[in-house]
């Protein structure tokens, strides 16, 4: 039982990191209609950006701002210089996957070429351990969960109550119609990449904190968790991604505690493949 409760703690942290990543990913899909498989690459570059600042003696929580900035800028460039031009030309969605994978190689191995093949760690304090029975989290872990929760609320407020959020939802539903209604869809798409890029960067920094040590290829498998969370909730559905992140985070960590840690990703794989096979629009999605 105590193992179960402890694994819930781990699951919540994984879910917190995953939610930051998955919401950004799913919004990119919703608004820009691209499955950005380079997302994990952008995350890791951002994490390294935070690492470089952190190395200068800056607190990792401040250094995370560098990750956010890096994520936003890289995502903006990625869309403006790569995805958007290909889409304008009418490149098929399957070919876009190849483009995204090519960009993944460039980002991940470019980072490895610059930073070297050895893993790095943030210099940070985990803080005191808060304990309630067998449920225990460090202060840093609680901070990650709170940060993720606050960010989710911000995403909710932006999507629901601001002009930008409405424009994003309209663009996601039907870009041509939105443009004909006077929405400057290109600007909406650009702002979406900026915002989701910031989420991606934040996710990268938090991923690095949670993982302890990370290297250029560390997010390869994490991307599968992101995809599982996104497809579970329904691609393009931000609330679905939050739900998916919670389910996948808990499912992987609980199964890691009770089966074999090596197979914790397999649960996510099975969920992802099952969703693709049975209901590719996700639990919360209706749009095909």
């Amino acid at each position: 039982m105590s193992l179960f409760i402890a694994s819930i703690g781990f699951g919540l942290i994984t879910a917190a990191v995953l939610a930051l990543a998955a919401v950004g990913f799913t919004l990119q899909f919703a608004v820009a209609n691209v499955l950005n498989l380079a997302y994990g690459g952008v995350m890791i570059v951002s994490a390294y950006a935070a690492y470089v600042v952190n190395e200068q003696g800056v607190s990792v929580w401040v250094a995370a701002l560098a990750a956010i900035a890096a994520g936003a800028v890289i995502s903006l460039i990625l869309n403006g210089l790569v995805y958007r031009p290909f889409q304008r030309r009418g490149t098929s969605s399957a070919a876009m996957v190849i483009v995204a994978l090519g960009m993944t190689l460039i980002l991940v191995f470019g980072t490895q070429a610059l930073a070297g093949p050895t893993n790095v760690s943030f210099s940070m304090s985990q803080g005191a351990t808060l304990q309630a029975g067998s449920f225990q989290l460090t202060v840093a872990q609680v901070a990650i969960i709170v940060l993720s929760l606050v960010t989710m609320i911000v995403v909710h407020v932006v999507m629901r109550y601001t002009r930008l959020g409405k424009a994003m939802r309209a663009t996601a539903a039907n870009r041509d119609l939105a443009r004909n209604c006077g929405i400057r869809t290109d600007r909406v798409v650009t702002l979406t990449w900026l915002g989701t890029g910031a989420l991606c960067g934040m996710a990268g920094a938090v991923f690095g904190m949670d993982a302890g040590t990370f290297g250029a290829t560390s997010t390869d498998l994490f991307l599968v968790l992101i995809l599982a969370a996104v497809f579970l909730g329904g691609p393009g559905q931000p609330y679905g991604a939050m739900l998916g992140a919670l389910v996948i985070g808990l499912a992987t960590e609980i199964s890691a505690a009770f089966i074999v840690p090596d197979y914790k990703y397999v649960v996510a794989f099975v969920i992802l493949l099952g969703m693709l096979a049975v209901r590719p629009t996700g639990l919360l999605g209706a749009r095909a």
């Binding site: 399957a94 090519g102 490895q112 397999v266 493949l273």
Partner: protein, 611 residues
Amino acid sequence: MVYYITTLLVYGGVDAIACLGLSQQFGIAGVTNFGFIIFQAAGAYAAAVLSLPPDSANGGFQSYIGGLQLPFPLPWIGAAIVGGLLAVPFASIVGKRLRGDFAAVGLLVTAVMFNLLVTNYQPFLNGAAGLSLVPSPLQGSINPLSEGYQWGYAAVAVLLALLTYLFVAHITKSPYGRTLRAMRDNDVVADSLGKNLRSLRTSSLVVGGAIAGLSGGILVGFINLWDPQAWGYAETIVLFAAVIIGGLGNHRGAVLGAILVPLAFEEATRYIPPVPGDPGLIPALQWVVIGLLIVVFLWVRPQGILPERRRVILGAAGGPATAALAAPGASIVDDAALLPAISASAAPLPVRLRAGPYGGAAILECVGLGRSFDGVRAVQDASMSFARARLTGIIGPNGAGKSTLLAMLAGTLRPTEGRISYRGEDITSLPAYRRARTGLVRTFQLASEFKRLTVMENLITAIPGQRGESFRGALLGRRYWGAQERDAVDRAREMLERFGLLELGDRYAGELSGGQRRLVEIMRSLMAEPEVLLLDEPMAGVHPRLAHQIGEQLVSLTHAGLTVIMVEHELSIMDAFCDPVIVMAEGRVLAEGTMSVLRANAEVVEAYLVG
């Protein structure tokens, strides 16, 4: 030095074989199998455990299943078989109607999962450490380290690559290959022309899988070890990069790509001395370069270095028509003479019609047919029966549900309610390709030509029952399907001639004007030997004069027994040719009758004016 060259040759052969398999599967059949590398891996593992002794007898330091110690060449054959068999379950993923990128993600993730499972489950294939000491073929009789053996191995690898090339080229030039390319260009349309997508995709996956498996078997016999690191997802990207850079749909391009990408970037550079103090730099930069190559090539030259070859069928035969058209002294009465026109309108078009045994008056009927999209009811409670050998028109304002109705009749869309019967038999749940095979053929409202097939190929593809269209037929070769193919070419040429488009026969259909493409689609549907023809706005973009000529031809075909159901906006066409005419509005059938009756119907007029 000898070892360096022979190693490069073996790798070159292996990479070429793998790329040819992917070229067949992705370049020809359009199946984006991002799990391709696991077929090579499966072949390598299979060859390894088939040639290794049982693990207990092998020092016991590694554990694996099998260990059959089979003599060469059985491990290689086993590698190909395992690769092919592994492809069968994959067909169910690819067979689903998923967005291209969703299917790609599913397959990519499957490949990653296989890798994870093999890495972590040690008893199966020795886990992360992988298999080592895999015997070289014939190592009992020849020393694998001798130069002669190395040269021999290289020669065999290159020879097998050549044979693989001949094999894929052989099946690609057959009608089967043409049908695969049609499916690649537009699977929904291929489906509506009676092509069984599931079996075509399964055969492509199995052929590609077997070829990839063979390549793995050859590789493992040479390097004598195989571990999960050798087949990460990135290796799949390398193979895709090779095929894209070489040229999609061109097998020679695939070989060139194999030499340029995996061989030149991965293997040849393996011997660049590492940068002092940073041994990982060169490999990391290699990956960056491969990523750049993919993105830059897809942007600058998406067709690759050696683009797909256009299949010229008519050759010079297409020439005279052009010459006649532009012959000096030909009296051009009006501009219309320059337009394509159906020649000798009196004679019927060269169409083979199917006549089923069913003798009832209504050949096609639907009862209470309905279809909803996310709660929007596009068609509801549509009940109608279509008389045999009549040209029935369907009109109605935009959004009336005409195209949805047609799609349900043809099987492209599943109805959410109601029943459809054809020749008195319930076909509600019959898939589109099987309806097409019984003579229920449709066209599409939006451009639906097979873009990278020539006009001739578009027409020939539609012909049902081609002997060379099955994988088996393709294997049997031209001697088996050649005579029928010549007949098909003649029929397609005759059709083109009648539409005055012979000079366009060898052009890519994707290069034609909108009106010309409409004509290609009409001709193609006629080549499909229809009994009932469902036409969705066939005249849109077609010159009015030609449209009327087509209308006349359709009417004369109905005299020969063809049933035509035509959605059209052009009322003059309806006036001239269609009887009866069905009016739809807001998803329902509003009225039915001759045009003159309908014009007097206030409700119909209002629906049109309001709509």
